[in-house]
Subunit: 176 residues, 2 copies
């Protein structure tokens, strides 16, 4: 993994990929699938996300205030669905689905080695947590896997339907 | 335009497309380009979005509490960039860029006829507005253009680089 400058994190999340979110509590790591996230600030990068309080990860994230957002490429699509179809309550999802937990540098939850990017995050604001299950996260450190070039991400359209990144177009824009 | 059931709105926004956001104030409509949005609740659909307070649309949205989120397909990509590169302060963007404002049913801001979906929204929560420029919107009514079949959306990676939807994959999932 190579470190990515924090100013570039928005370019990973703004396009709306399905991501994995890892947590750790009482010495046990867990991972869930998530699509409800958005950028809130460029730098330091702030990310909002909604985690259902029915998810096992919700309690861990609230209690510890730490997580890792990991970005899977297309080849992990079936794994992403298996992760989403199961619960950390009764499954060690890393072992069950062949994901490798790697140590993060600033937080306890693990990076996911198979993902092309990993973002170490801490919870920065919980004002909308009770009403909407919304966390505001600050990205503390970002990593990318230089061996995965031009990874294609997947985008969830509901009920197991995903659209894979297609071709890239470049237009003259003044928008960052 | 055909009405779309509100329970399906998340399938449009969850994949992270670039969208247009229209506002209306003092009899004048405006439109901006936006990528920082996410679903917050399925039904009634709640959507969070961040609108920079440097944007002309910010003041209109705050003052009126109403907007329309319009979803452009790939053929509108260059229009979307022109909309993003200009300001409603000094430009009638509908006229300048060939967009057709159509009347909405429940809010004052217009639908964008060229877009394949339009979501009439009101502001539902402003608790994170001062700190993060974040609005929580409720989608009141949703419309799709039945003439645009399988529209491909675009996803912003920064600085005028967009990825167009590629192929669709279907996996067995228990996730909604």
């Amino acid at each position: 993994m190579r470190e990515l400058h924090l100013s570039k994190v928005y370019q990973l999340l703004e396009p709306g990929p399905v991501v994995l979110l890892t947590t750790a509590r009482k010495g046990r790591a867990n991972v869930m699938t998530m699509s409800w996230h958005m950028m809130v600030e460029f730098e330091p990068p702030l990310v909002a996300c909604v985690v259902s309080n029915a998810n096992h990860s919700f309690a861990a994230l609230r209690a510890t205030g730490e997580c890792v957002i990991a970005l899977p490429a297309r080849k992990l699509a079936s794994t992403v669905v298996k992760v989403g179809n199961s619960s950390g309550r009764d499954t060690d999802k890393f072992a069950a689905f062949g994901l490798t937990a790697a140590s993060a540098s600033l937080v306890s939850p693990p990076l996911v080695r198979e993902c092309f990017a990993n973002l170490e995050c801490k919870v920065a604001d919980t004002r909308l947590l009770n009403k909407y299950n919304m966390f505001i996260l600050e990205v503390l450190r970002a990593w990318i896997d230089p061996a995965q070039r031009n990874p294609k991400t997947i985008h969830h359209h509901g009920y197991g339907t995903f659209v894979v990144d297609g071709k890239t177009i470049r237009l003259k824009s003044r928008m960052r």
